[in-house]
């Protein structure tokens, strides 16, 4: 199941901010299901990798302490209009998705 991944870029003062929003539960593995009294298994995004025109510029490793539906931002320098930014994420259950945007 592909989870919705959205990306947006904003350029200001020569730096481009890239914001990624993934709709993901980010379960910590410590929460207890109120009905079954069993622990909800951990399910969270582990890696986000950002590329600019195919070249990797940043890799973000997330832990369980990141809120659900993570909104992650990084800043790129020297990105020009028309450049392609791509993000690929993967979680601890092997799910992954990617999103692409043009600066």
């Amino acid at each position: 199941m592909a989870r919705q991944t959205r990306m947006r870029t904003k350029t200001q003062d020569g730096a481009t901010e890239v914001l990624v929003l993934v709709s993901h539960p980010m379960e910590t593995g410590q929460r207890v299901d109120p009905k079954t009294k069993e622990k909800i298994p951990a399910h969270f995004i582990q890696k986000l990798s950002f590329t600019l025109n195919g070249k990797e510029v940043a890799v973000v490793d997330l832990g369980v302490a990141v809120s659900k539906d993570p909104l992650v931002g990084v800043k790129l320098k020297g990105a020009k209009a028309g450049d392609k930014v791509k993000v690929t994420w993967s979680d601890n259950k092997g799910e992954s998705n990617n999103a692409e945007a043009t600066v």
Partner: protein
């Protein structure tokens, strides 16, 4: 050692400074390739020092005014605490965000190669705690901290 106070934290960091110097040779060569495996040990670590050692091979960090933490002083909902970190140091290679009193302090670690020293996210905080940001720049570690008060915890429930 989940309740690590500032004093003990400083002591511990000072204690390993000598080790840090010895390991600095190793620090200069990247210990972690950019697309390496997810650092499980670092995220499982129960203390900031352990996590730092696993991430960067050293835990001695110098306090620096060049790291700016943009986060609320008081967060109403611990489940969603926005934080933005920017480091204006030259040659930023990595950033790591820690919440001292979370069961697993490491929130996120960023490896940068061409991007600016900036990172933003929303994180969970169990209770009022100091938030540490450690920045790796030019082979050295720098840190900054801010206390964030949490009214309602964001873990469990």
């Amino acid at each position: 050692m989940t309740t690590l106070h500032r004093r003990t934290f400083l002591k511990a960091t000072l204690g390993v400074t000598a080790v840090g110097v010895a390991a600095s040779a190793g620090l200069l060569t990247p210990t972690r390739v950019l697309a390496a495996e997810w650092p499980k040990n670092a995220f499982d670590a129960k203390s900031i020092n352990d996590a730092l050692k696993d991430l960067y091979g050293a835990s001695a960090a110098t306090a620096s005014g060049s790291i700016k933490i943009k986060a609320p002083i008081q967060a109403e909902n611990g489940a969603v605490v926005p934080i933005a970190v920017s480091a204006t140091l030259p040659n930023v290679q990595g950033l790591a965000v820690f919440v001292e009193k979370n069961a697993q302090p490491l929130v996120a670690s960023v490896a940068l190669s061409g991007a600016e020293g900036y990172f933003s996210a929303r994180m969970k905080m169990g209770q009022t705690s100091d938030v540490y940001v450690v920045c790796k720049a030019g082979g050295k570690l720098y840190s900054a901290k801010q206390t964030i008060k949490v009214t309602v915890g964001g873990c469990g429930g």
